[in-house]
């Protein structure tokens, strides 16, 4: 009996050791240089501690040294996947500060470019999410289509990734002949690929098994963490700045805001966050079509561009709906031609902060998918 009791005691003292895994900074699926310190119990994740700053390029310090025009290329390099949208936020903020009102043609071109870039961004997001789940082929299909969007940007701005195309008060160059046809072709292509990829990836049984009911983010937690974009909408909250406080000319278009409705899984899980992106591509296509129809080709896109940008002293907080969520720029001007301070509220920075909250208790393989479903860009997290 005594022997048994001793054995029993020993058995109760047996605990499984927790293992501390270092995911990143160099890891195939951290989407850049994020480092996650993960404590795992077997395969179950018990704690996640993110370490940032591996791409901290001192963006805000640079802004203080540059003139207002020189800031634009640096803004590009923040969220480098959707550079057009980033520029737009900055340019809009500056125009608000200086009281400029740009012409309709400029607004339409900006909307089209921003929506094209939104599609490009979502394509990368969905593609890399599939890659995290182990599906390599959809990744290449999406990149094949993205290339056509890049070509349009290249014809406009000369660059493939970081465009430096928007200017305070206008654009760097006018659109080229055949821009309309190119855009319509892209829209056609995007729709076709999305349909194809629905079968191959999004509604694939294994993919649904992997992503549905994983990494659930409840709506109230999402708001408390100030999530935005597809992460917030994936939780079922209809919040989109394009509708909620229509900036630019978004009130002229007819489009829907897709939210995670729990068609598969529950709202707030990885699958729903992902499907929001897929559906948003379709909405962007609709906006592009309407914009192309309404657009007037006459007019000069550079007539309001000032030689020297010198806003009055003051401050403005400008935010707009970027593909990843709302990017906020807090621009403080002291009346000189260099900004006093520019603070960027990185969308990915804020969205990433929910990772420790929502990844506890899931498997280690799920953590990678949760990270993928949030769609971060480290350039924006670390700035």
């Amino acid at each position: 009996m005594g022997e048994l009791k001793r054995l029993d005691l020993e058995y109760n003292q047996l605990t499984s050791d927790k293992m501390r895994l270092n995911v990143g900074p160099q890891h195939p699926s951290t989407h850049g240089v994020l480092r996650l310190e993960v404590v795992v119990d077997g395969e179950i994740v018990t704690e996640v501690i993110p370490h940032l700053g591996y791409l901290h390029r001192s963006f805000e310090k640079y802004c203080e040294q540059m003139t207002y025009v020189q800031v634009i290329p640096y803004i590009d390099r923040m969220d480098y996947i959707s550079a057009m949208n980033n520029e737009w936020v900055y340019v809009m903020g500056m125009e608000k500060l200086m009281g400029l009102k740009v012409s309709d043609k400029v607004e339409y071109i900006r909307v089209i470019l921003a929506e094209l870039n939104r599609i490009a961004n979502h394509q990368i997001a969905v593609a890399t999410f599939g890659l995290d789940a182990g599906a390599f082929t959809p990744f290449l299909y999406y990149f094949r289509d993205r290339e056509h969007i890049i070509w349009v940007f290249e014809k406009l701005s000369g660059a493939r990734l970081l465009y430096n195309y928007f200017r305070v008060g206008g654009l760097a160059a006018d659109i080229y002949d055949g821009f309309k046809e190119d855009c319509l072709n892209i829209v056609k292509r995007v729709r076709k690929t999305n349909e194809e990829l629905m079968d191959l990836l999004i509604l694939n049984g294994i993919f649904i098994k992997r992503t549905a009911n994983v990494g659930i983010l409840p709506p109230d937690v999402a708001i408390s963490y100030a999530c935005s974009g597809p992460v917030l909408r994936g939780s079922g909250i209809k919040y989109d700045l394009r509708k909620d406080e229509p900036y630019s000319i978004y009130d002229r278009f007819d489009f829907d805001i897709p939210v995670g409705d729990g068609e598969v899984g529950v709202p707030g899980d990885c699958w729903n966050r992902n499907i929001v992106r897929v559906r948003e591509m379709e909405q962007s296509c609709r906006i592009i079509e309407q914009a192309l129809e309404q657009m007037d080709m006459e007019g000069d896109v550079k007539e309001l561009v000032p030689r020297r940008v010198k806003p009055p002293a003051g401050e403005v907080y400008m935010r707009a709906e970027n593909p990843k969520g709302d990017l906020g720029l807090y621009i403080v001007s002291d009346g000189t031609d260099k900004p006093e301070r520019i603070k960027a509220r990185g969308t990915s920075f804020v969205n990433l902060s929910v990772i420790p909250e929502i990844s506890k208790g899931y498997m280690f393989a799920d953590l990678i998918l949760i990270l993928g479903s949030i769609d971060i860009v480290l350039g924006e997290v670390d700035r």
């Binding site: 293992m19 895994l21 890891h27 195939p28 699926s29 395969e43 599939g130 890659l131 995290d132 789940a133 182990g134 599906a135 390599f136 082929t137 290449l140 299909y141 094949r144 191959l200 990836l201 694939n204 294994i206 993919f207 098994k209 992997r210 498997m363 280690f364 393989a365 799920d366 953590l367 990678i368």
Partner: protein
């Protein structure tokens, strides 16, 4: 046993012959692995609308050769804190496990290196050795990712060995032999004599045909899991475990893992071919049947199965470790039991 080994008959049973018999499959494995690697590269490229390697010889067909030449030259790193003995032994054990299975694989009616009566049993026994090597390698690397990969690998092997064995066992009930050569001979004739379609017999066999097809699929799924191919490649799942159990291996030792994976792919394809697809038999009765054709049909069928494995790899996403277990224990195992029961019933009634 009437079947004869062509070489034994030609040269007599002496040391030279035995060496030849041993070396022939090795040569086959090496050439096959090179072809399979090329096939993998080119098939993936084709699926993804790319070209694949193009600059190594015409259409890149020398790519695997270049890779082997490169891998031989690479520095062979042993991590300082690794368990040296196990670390160095692991790749050899993995390759041995895959290669020794070739001892009983009947390439033709006239060539099977060894014709032991327990052929199937032997393959299952030595097939598990490679898992042992994977565990050794993963544990000895002293790397957390490697260890997780190794653990997953064992769990996976245990889960999928059972349904695979039961699927094969059902066919053994039908054939009442475990000798691979005998199983082949039973399937001579047209393709409806294959065990995929219930094996030889009268029309009365029709009601077990669905079950033999299901068994074939069960074995194929389990084989995918045992060879660590997508969608079951969680031991080396790139997106989470970096490179899994072979994270720390470089140079020629990594090449051995690489070769072993492809060799094992052919082993499972060979079993599938032999047991379900008629082995070296022509699908068209006596047409194209003969010693030379036998080798052709066997390799053709085996390679087709390998190509299907490659095709699946570039199409599907990956399972999670618990879902993999679920599939193995709760879906494949019960179904294979049911099929086993029905086939036993059929044999009893016959």
């Amino acid at each position: 046993m009437e079947s004869i080994n062509f070489l034994y008959e030609l040269l007599g049973k002496n040391a030279l012959t035995i060496t030849l018999v041993v070396i022939l499959p090795l040569g086959f494995v090496l050439i096959y692995a090179l072809v399979a690697i090329l096939a993998e590269l080119k098939t993936s490229a084709w699926i993804q609308e790319r070209l694949g390697p193009m600059r190594t010889g015409p259409w890149g067909i020398l790519q695997p050769v270049a890779e082997v030449i490169k891998l031989i030259q690479k520095e062979d790193i042993t991590p300082a804190k690794a368990d040296k003995l196990l670390y160095n032994a692991a790749p050899f054990i993995v390759f041995t496990g895959a290669y020794s299975a070739f001892a009983v694989i009947p390439f033709s009616e006239y060539f099977a290196p060894s014709r032991i009566d327990l052929g199937l049993f032997y393959i299952f026994a030595v097939g598990s050795i490679s898992a042992l090597g994977i565990v050794m390698g993963g544990w000895a690397s002293n790397n957390k990712y490697s260890m997780m990969g190794a653990m997953r690998s064992v769990a996976q092997l245990i889960s999928y060995e059972v349904p695979a064995a039961i699927a094969i066992l059902s066919i053994v009930v039908l054939t009442s032999t475990m000798n691979l050569q005998e199983i082949n001979k039973l399937q001579t004739g047209w393709f409806w004599n294959w065990f995929l379609f219930g094996g030889p017999g009268t029309l009365a066999k029709w009601w077990i045909v669905p079950f033999t097809i299901i068994l074939c699929m069960i074995y194929f799924i389990a084989a995918l899991a045992e060879t660590n191919r997508l969608p079951f490649d969680i031991p080396e799942g790139e997106s989470e475990l970096v490179a899994g159990f072979h994270t720390e291996y470089s140079g020629i030792k990594f090449a051995m893992f690489f070769f072993a994976e492809y060799a094992y792919m052919f082993v499972v394809a060979a079993i599938l071919t032999t047991v379900f697809l008629g082995g070296w038999n022509s699908p068209f009765g006596n047409l194209m049947q003969g010693p030379g054709w036998g080798v052709f049909w066997f390799i053709f069928k085996g390679f087709s199965v390998v190509m299907v494995q490659i095709w699946i790899r570039w199409t599907l996403p990956r399972f999670r470790v618990d879902q993999l277990m679920y599939l193995g224990w709760k879906i494949l195992l019960p179904i294979s039991f049911v099929c086993f029961l029905i086939i036993s019933l059929y044999v009893m009634l016959k």
